[in-house]
């Protein structure tokens, strides 16, 4: 589920500009083209950079099959075109085939964002028969020693390889999602080759973004500047070499950027996700911001009403909420002040300039801290789980 941890998925909709032309996106916020459905927070993996909130939704609070089907119908009706089934691990839900079939029936293009470890060939074939259009599998490395340790799940890597092969055998397009950090960046050339060998159409080289679980694990994950520069070179070379064979999307960790990322394409501008319990959120990490009330699909309001009118969506929409230095910044319509969740996590106020920006008064301090962490030797993870996290011990090696 790291795809959206970087806010890049939404930015990749190059058709959006065409669809939105003729009206000002600063004034009007049309219904998003794609929505992320986090159907559960349950997941057998324990990746220390998980993009789910640290406070996970319990199984008992998840929307029912009928509730999700109603949501899917409503999304199609208001103009959403694509649905990403994500989590947690979406295949942990026994009704996933039924939900995918329903998405197809109402005309939604469906994408499965999966860790793959719970899939077997029959289940994948059933999903394909139900109309699934695309599969994205996360990889934690290019071989089991690193990958299974990061995932906190023995045998995960071998299973992912197997499922990736079935995906192509079933003629489904495959995206390999590789989440990168200090402890696996050395494998990047091999990961690119792995994606080619698996006959993937796309590879996402997504550097960890640091909020939620990843922020807890920042000292163990933060890459050095040298690593990032090397990775950028490797990706650039591979993009040229593999043109027409493998498309590579690359996301730099914004701690090492001069300007913050255009997170989610701007708060409430072109994306929302639905949490397992049915909350409509401007991004998957938005619940980390305390003091914002998010409306649920279980409320009396329609999804379109929540998108257009709810206080949480309107709080940081547009540019009117911005303080200095954003307010008078020439880039305010370019990056929209960066990431609200990161601003909250690092400054305590989601309305501040994202400290990833060099113009933030806190940038220097945070960058120096990250640099010190990257140079440090704390390599132990805190694994993601419903208990609030478990520190890695000497005995843990993907068990």
């Amino acid at each position: 589920m790291s795809t959206l941890a970087d806010g890049k998925t939404t930015a990749a909709h190059d058709g959006l500009a065409a669809l939105e032309s003729g009206r000002s996106t600063a004034e009007t916020f049309g219904i998003p083209l794609a929505v992320l459905a986090e159907v559960t927070h349950r997941c057998p993996l324990q990746c220390p950079y998980c993009s789910n909130p640290v406070e996970l939704d319990r199984a008992g609070s998840e929307l029912t099959t009928e509730e999700w089907k109603k949501v899917l119908s409503e999304l199609a009706e208001i103009g959403v075109l694509q649905i990403h089934f994500s989590g947690g691990e979406p295949t942990a839900r026994k009704d996933l085939v039924e939900l995918v079939r329903h998405a197809s029936d109402v005309g939604l293009y469906s994408n499965l964002i999966t860790s793959a470890v719970l899939l077997n060939r029959e289940k994948l074939a059933a999903l394909a028969d139900a109309g699934l259009c695309h599969v994205q599998i996360s990889f934690q490395g290019n071989e089991p020693v690193v990958a299974d340790r990061v995932a906190g799940f023995k045998g995960a890597h071998a299973k992912k390889i197997e499922v990736a092969k079935w995906t192509r055998e079933l003629d489904l397009p495959l995206t390999v999602n590789a989440v990168m950090h200090r402890q696996n960046l050395f494998q990047l050339p091999d990961i690119i080759q792995m994606a080619v060998d698996l006959d993937a159409d796309r590879l996402e080289v997504a550097n960890v973004q640091y909020y939620g679980w990843a922020l807890k694990n920042r000292a163990a994950l933060m890459p050095t500047l040298e690593q990032i520069e090397e990775a950028s070179r490797i990706v650039e070379e591979a993009q040229m070499r593999l043109k027409g064979t493998l498309a590579i999307d690359y996301v730099v960790p914004d701690y090492y950027a001069l300007r913050p990322k255009k997170c989610m394409g701007g708060w409430g501008r072109q994306f929302f996700n639905i949490s397992p319990a049915g909350k409509i959120l401007p991004c998957h990490a938005a619940e980390t911001i305390t003091g914002l009330e998010f409306e649920s699909v279980r409320s009396n309001h329609s999804i379109a009403w929540i998108w257009q009118n709810s206080e949480a969506f309107n709080r940081y929409r547009g540019t009117g909420w911005m303080p200095e230095p954003c307010k008078s910044c020439e880039f305010k319509e370019v990056d929209f002040g960066g990431c609200r969740c990161q601003a909250f996590a690092l400054t305590g106020d989601a309305g501040n300039t994202d400290p990833a920006c060099t113009l933030s008064p806190l940038h220097e301090k945070i960058f120096k801290l990250a640099e010190a962490e990257a140079a440090g030797d704390n390599n132990r993870f805190i694994y993601r789980n419903f208990a609030g996290g478990t520190p890695e011990t000497d005995g843990d090696h993907g068990t």
């Binding site: 058709g15 959006l16 669809l19 694509q82 994408n111 006959d199």
Partner: protein
């Protein structure tokens, strides 16, 4: 396997949309869209007309004949435009080729 992605469009090609790509009329926005992994494209009217002919059975030559007859236009000019457009879509992964029949 990956070879299907590097197709070279010519008059004998029989292009079609790959399984993971859908051409659909978006009722909400009143435009045609191409849906693909992580992407939504808005093709123009001419592209839509050509794409609707890409069924994996018709050859590019057939399409060009059909379009030239319909628009009473110069066949050579249409052929050039259609091939350039299809090649561009193919390079972006929105078009594939029907498997060669070995007869």
């Amino acid at each position: 396997m990956a070879a299907s992605r590097n197709i070279s469009v010519s008059e004998t090609s029989r292009p079609k949309l790959p399984r993971h790509t859908r051409l659909k009329f978006d009722e909400t926005r009143q435009v045609w869209v191409i849906l693909a992994p992580e992407r939504v494209l808005a093709p123009d009217e001419i592209a839509v007309e050509v794409l609707q002919l890409c069924d994996g059975v018709r050859s590019v030559a057939d399409m060009v004949d059909q379009l030239a007859a319909k628009y009473l236009a110069d066949r050579g000019a249409i052929a050039t435009d259609v091939i350039v457009m299809l090649q561009d879509l193919a390079d972006k992964g929105f078009l594939t080729e029907a498997r060669e029949s070995t007869s």
